[in-house]
Point group: D2
C-alpha cells in the first residue's frame, strides 16, 4: 500500500534570509503552511473559502527539527504526508529537502484540526476521508 | 496653528534584518502601517473592526525615500502627519528617525482611502474630520 | 527597438494575506524585490554574493501605486523594466498583473544604486551596461 | 531556589494577522525569537554581533503548542526560561500569555546551540554559565 505524499518545489527568496545569511527559522513555517494549503487545495479543501464560511483550519502543535540551512539561490522540496492523530486531529509529516544535494533541511510534524464558528472541532469531509484512509 | 503629529517609538527586531545585515526595505512599510494604525486607533478608528464591518481602509499610493538603514539593536521613531489630498483621499506624511542620532532613515507619503463593501469610497467620520481640519 | 522586459510568474501564498483577506501592502515590495533579484541574476548579478563582497545593492526610492488587490489563489506576473535615472542610479519599472484577467494590480518605480564598503556608489559592470543601453 | 525567567511585553501589529483574522502561526516564532534575543542581550550576548564574528546561534528544534489565538489589539507577554538540554544544547521554555485575561496562547520549547565558522558547537561563556546554573 502506498502512502500519500504531496510534494511542492519552491525557491528561496532573498528577503527570507536574515542577518546570518540563511533562511530565518520562522520562514520555514511559511513554507510548511504554503505546501499544506497547496496539498489541501489538491484534495478539494480551500483554506480561504473555509475561513470565509466560519470554518477555521488551525494548527494545534508544531514540532520542527532544523537539520541544515537554506540560503539565497537554493531550491527545495516540501513534502506533505497526512496521518491520523485522533478522530478530530490530523497530522502532517513535512520534510524539506534541498534540491541540489537532497540534503534534509527540516523535519516537521504539524498537527491541526478544523474549528467551526462556535470553536468546536468540525472536520471537512475530505479531511475525514484522509483520516479514514491513513 | 500646530499641525497634528503622532509619533510611535519602536525597536528593530533581528528577524526584520536581511542578508545585508540591515532592515529589509519591505519591513519599513510594516513599520509605517503599524504607526498609522496606532494613530488611527488614537483618533477612534479601528482598522480591524472596520474591516469586519466591510469598510476597508486601503493604501492607494506609497512614496518612500530611503535615506539610511536601521540595523539590529536600533530604536527609532515613526511619525504620522495627516494631510488632505482630495475629498476622499487622505495622505500620511511619515518620517522615520533613528533615536540614537536623530538621523532620518525614511521619508514617506502614504495615500489612502476607505472603501465600502461595494468598493466605493466611504470615509469614517473621524477621517473626514481630519480632512476638514488639515 | 525593443525594450528589455523581464517577467516572473508567481502565486499568492495564504500567509501573505492580512485580516482584510487580501495581500498586505508590504508584501508587494517582497514580490517586487524577488522579481528584481531574479532579473539581476539572469544578467549575471548575484545580490547575495555582492553583499558578501561588501557591495550592497540598495533601494533609494520606491513609488508604488496600488490599483487592485490580489487574494488567496491568485497567480500573477511581475514585470521588471530597467531604465536610466542618473550615472549612478538605476530605475526599475515594475508592474504586477493578475493572470486571470490581466488586471493591473500594482504599478511601481523602484530606484536603486550600489554602494561599496565605504558607502560610495559603485555599480557592477553589468548594471553599467544596462544604464548605457537604457 | 528561584528559576530565571525573562519576560517581554509586546503588542500585536495588524499586518501580523492573516485572513482568518488572527496572528499567523509563523509569526509566533518571530515573537519567540525576538524575546530570546532580548533575553540574550540582557545577559550580554548579542546575536547580530556574534553572527558578524562567525559564531551563529542556531535553533535546532522547536516544539510549539498553540492554545489560543491572538488578534488585532491584543497585548501579550513572552516568557523565556533557559534550561540545560546537554553540554552543548540550551533549551528555552517560552510561554506566551494574553495580557487581558492571562490566557495561555502558546507554550513552546525551543532548543539551540552556537556554531563556529567550522560548523562546530562553540558556546559563548555567558551561555555556558546559564547551562551550569540551570
Amino acid at each position: 500500500m502506498t502512502q500519500e505524499c504531496f510534494t511542492l518545489e519552491m525557491a528561496v527568496r532573498d528577503y527570507e534570509c536574515d542577518l546570518q545569511g540563511v533562511v530565518n527559522n520562522a520562514v520555514y513555517q511559511n513554507y510548511l503552511e504554503h505546501a499544506r494549503h497547496e496539498y489541501l487545495k489538491e484534495i478539494g479543501i480551500d483554506f480561504a473559502a473555509l475561513a470565509a464560511e466560519g470554518i477555521n483550519l488551525v494548527v494545534t502543535r508544531a514540532e520542527i527539527d532544523y537539520k541544515a540551512s537554506l540560503t539565497s539561490g537554493d531550491t527545495f522540496v516540501v513534502e506533505v504526508r497526512p496521518e491520523r492523530i485522533s478522530p478530530v486531529r490530523i497530522g502532517f509529516r513535512q520534510d524539506i529537502y534541498r534540491l541540489a544535494d537532497r540534503k534534509a533541511v527540516v523535519k516537521a510534524l504539524v498537527t491541526g484540526t478544523a474549528l467551526n464558528a462556535k470553536g468546536r472541532p468540525q472536520l471537512p469531509e475530505a479531511l475525514k476521508d484522509i483520516l479514514d484512509r491513513a
